[in-house]
């Protein structure tokens, strides 16, 4: 390689490395703000903002969804498999809302420690499969013989 080209290659590598380093530092310092939501663990431990709106993300605990009264209010628990937070929401839930589903709720904590949500978004996971495959995953040991009905 000619010296002039070598020098340009070096300059360009330095430029890209410098830009990468600067971005890495910037992202590191903004790390907390780039988190789209807090897990329930942070909320229970008091790391989440007290009197401000924030987002809470977690799995809806199986069997925890209840509707007090006849209105559109729903109460359910969110978990990150470590801690649980009670969430209350009045409004229309997205299609994917169901027990065991990942959810991101936007709202604030009330003095009783209940998270009052203004908006509930469903977080889809990365799994795609036909319904039959899902059904067979639920019962891994389906007996294959002697089930004449």
């Amino acid at each position: 390689m000619k010296p002039a080209r070598k020098q340009r290659l070096l300059l360009i590598s330095l430029m890209v490395a410098g830009a990468g380093l600067a971005t890495a530092f910037a992202l590191k310092s903004f790390n907390d703000n780039l988190m789209y939501f807090f897990p329930p663990k942070d909320v229970v431990e008091g790391k989440a903002p007290k009197d401000a709106l924030f987002r809470l993300g977690g799995m809806v605990v199986n069997g925890s969804v209840e509707r007090p009264g006849n209105g559109m209010t729903v109460r359910f628990k969110l978990t990150d498999y470590e801690k649980e937070v009670m969430v209350e929401y009045t409004g229309i839930l997205p299609d994917l809302f169901r027990e065991g589903q990942g959810i991101v709720a936007h709202g604030r904590l009330n003095p009783q420690g209940v998270f009052v949500a203004e908006e509930v978004l469903a977080k889809h996971d990365e799994n795609y499969m036909p319904p039959e495959v899902k059904a067979s995953l639920k019962q891994p040991e389906t007996p294959t013989t002697g089930q004449a009905q």
Binding site: M1, R5, R8, L9, I12, M15, V16, A19, G20, T23, L27, N31, L34, M35, Y36, F37, F38, P39, G57, L93, P94, D95, L96, V104, E119, V120, L121, A122, K123, H124, D125, E126, N127, Y128, M129, P130, P131, E132, V133, K134, A135
Partner: protein, 255 residues
Amino acid sequence: MFLVPDAVVRFFHRMASPPHFYAFTERLMPWLTVIFTLLIVAGLYGGLYLAPADYQQGDSYRIIYIHVPAAWMSLFIYVVMAITGGIGLIWRMKLAEVILISSAPIGASFTFLALVTGSLWGKPMWGAWWVWDARLTSELILLFLYLGVIGLYGAIDDKRSASRAVAILALVGVVNIPIIHYSVEWWNTLHQGPTVTKMDKPSIHVSMLTPLLLMALAFKVYYVIAMMLRAQVELLQRERNSQWAKAKALEEGGL
């Protein structure tokens, strides 16, 4: 340079000459068109008809066959632009500059397509058209980078110096590419994690994965076709005073 076989080196040297590249793309075009047609028909038929519905999302998930290949292409084309930008800066190779600028509008279109299809899917599934999470925001920045490249190139009259400017922009912007890819792992995002491009086995059923990969290949071939067509025009414009370009124009019935 010494590890590369002689024939490959010769091929690249010939390709670096605009008339050779032009003739090469013209010869390749019918083949690419046939391959693209086969892939897109097979991919769409497999994705929209053969593939089963999803256990949770029903038929809505089928937007994946446009959204995911478009998003992959948006990253891929930007990497191509950064590499050709580097080659153009270091070796002052005209063809690399032409490929860079011919790729930009195609990449911008794919990015736009990924953002729009994602938004259309997000409303019924998540409950929101748009959220400012790390994945969506970094992809939007990618769109602005593409538009910046196109705008910067158009703003400078001398196309050689314009190419040098956009090459630097493309190279600096390439830091955004790993951020987009890893955003779903580094931060809590509403956007789901990777389904196919992870070390583990893909978490999508094979009957759904096959059409997705076919669509991804079809989009790749489409990019090559569109890029070559744009590169042909760009080359003719840049070389309009040269003998071969004049001959080409006469042959096409132009002038």
